[in-house]
Symmetry: C2
């Protein structure tokens, strides 16, 4: 137990040269102002009611490799629910073994992000779900071909009808994305040690983890990495204070600039959500850093100009490990069987139209 | 219901010019002499006791993409338990998007096959499991690298210790294969309509399916496609009577000849097991035929010299659909997390030693 000390309420950026000392309840109080626990219940989606039928359909679609042109890649290939909701690769492998441009973000708790992708180019998960399906470097498919595939299997048609009962044509690309979003709303990981702490069980964190939490807030990490997901809410230049090397921040990927074409958004990326961060190495949009400790040091220097001691980095890293929650049980779905009208797998890249 | 007729007990090869007519009980009796139902309990393996610890470890290994050099491909990639225990591709895609030489056989009920692979080059499933992991065109890994990977994760080490309690070094490539074999022993599909029939419920098959069963036996199909798995027990030349075209039987793949180097084993392949055949298109080792009906016609002509009427082909196809059993419930495993000593994914083909 640490003795009571001065509450550093400011979230401004500065380098700490000694451990922050907190009264327990002050630490909890400041943490509650900054973060929110993962809820235990599936969140509701204002424009996409989450029903059991939709969840089950979405689970099938999430695992169905026939959503991809090759018939080989499913959402789960890059967002593996047996791992950290990602693929643990630097950047993902897609159609034709092409190497994607950025590290795959975790799907776990993605429902709580304000915007999706590293550059926030999708407004929500149903918009996100349409992206990789069509990206030439990922699934290389088209909405029309996906619809043809799904319509060729009577079981899918029936499931779409039940998931979207009063809503025009049974099967559509848009409804596919809505069903996947509904399933993804169930992929939340409550009950991490940090959640128990936020919920009032202060003994859930040990002294080092509490010190890390205090440093995380006082050094300024939580300015960008706050809220439910400790990130995923806003966009910031990578290298506010000092740009990391080209190995970690490749010059050719200008981040949000590609979406907004605004000069001051060059090298601007979404602050990565840090939930389950211990499960999702390698780190950063480039996936070039494999050690969480190293990532913490790089962030402190490049974003905050903070020189942390080894003990401080260790403490923040220990705190980040408390963000690992309980991953959802996943029943692997039995998929409908292809029929004679199901488009055949196409392994080559389609010709440009 | 068909009226009683002559029991054609011989399994020799001849062309039927009319539907066989059977007494129900004679049909069942002949079927019981030729086939066996899928058991409801997990079979025991004489040299690899199936324990719950081994099954759970094997399930994790089956779904773990880090068994492959790339970190992308798992056993389940090509033997997808949500589909027919295969990948529904002509031939599988492996490391570097290489196209494998042959159609992936289903893992469902594979435990009942006498030999594995299309050419029988593995004696059992634990020998089979070592093949794709090392094949350059599949997972492109090495036993040493797999062992290094598994040993880098304390949870795996503990699980190996519990699965193999009195047996030298905790983690080994051989034990990995044994655990996967134990898990695969659970991947059986009892309670198909045909199993219900074999178990005595003659009403489980309708008239057309019964006619198909009679034709299947009397035309000679069951000479090669008998036993529990209706195949998977022996090796036969593809094209006993008449070789199919090079599109279906490519000249360069000489089948079992590559294993035995015996001239009369050119184009000899294992008779495919037909359990769940309606789920595992496309067909043949080349994967060139997508319609089950077409496959039946090709087999009858090439193997038996039989010219079947359309109704007869339809009846046999209807019978083959009764071989679809109840697929096992699969809980998707939560995998151990990589550590700093876990070998990093390698996406390029390794240099030849």
């Amino acid at each position: 137990m640490k003795k009571a000390g001065i509450l550093l309420a400011s979230l401004s950026v500065f380098a700490l040269t000694h451990s922050a000392a907190y009264a327990e309840s002050d630490l909890l109080s400041e943490a509650r102002d900054t973060f929110k626990p993962i809820p235990h219940a599936v969140p509701s989606l204002p424009d996409n009611p989450v029903t059991q039928e939709k969840i089950e359909l979405g689970r099938m679609l999430f695992f169905d490799p026939r959503i991809s042109r090759s018939g080989l890649l499913s959402c789960n290939t890059c967002h593996n629910l047996g791992m950290g909701g990602d693929d643990n690769l630097e950047t993902s492998i897609g159609h034709g073994w092409q190497k994607g441009p950025r590290n795959a973000p975790t799907v776990l708790n993605a429902i709580f992000n304000t915007a999706q992708f590293w550059d926030g180019r999708a407004a929500d998960l149903k918009a996100q779900a349409k992206g990789p399906v069509q990206a030439g470097v990922e699934m290389a498919n088209t909405p029309a071909r996906v619809e043809e595939t799904l319509k060729s299997m009577p079981e899918y048609v029936g499931r779409f009808e039940r998931a979207f009962p009063d809503n025009g044509e049974a099967v559509s690309f848009d409804k596919m994305a809505r069903a996947i979003e509904a399933y993804e709303a169930t992929l939340i990981t409550p009950a991490s040690k940090f959640d128990l702490f936020l919920e009032g069980n202060e003994a859930a964190l040990n002294d080092q983890e509490k010190e890390g939490l205090a440093l995380f807030m006082d050094t300024g990490c939580s300015s960008c990495h706050g809220g439910v997901n400790l990130g995923g809410e806003g966009y910031y230049p990578f290298g506010v204070v000092e740009k990391p090397g080209a190995e970690i921040l490749p010059a050719e990927d200008k981040g949000r600039f590609a979406v907004t074409k605004t000069a001051d958004e060059e090298y601007v990326f979404r602050a990565a959500p840090l939930r389950n961060i211990a499960l999702t190495a390698p780190y950063f949009h480039s996936g070039k850093v494999w050690e969480l400790k190293q990532a913490v040091g790089i962030m402190a220097a490049s974003q905050l100009g903070a020189e942390l001691s080894n003990d401080q980095v260790e403490a923040i890293t220990a705190f980040l490990h408390t963000l690992t929650g309980e991953r959802p049980d996943v029943e692997y779905p039995i998929l409908p069987i292809s029929t004679s009208t199901t488009p055949k797998p196409e392994l080559m890249q389609p010709m440009k139209q």
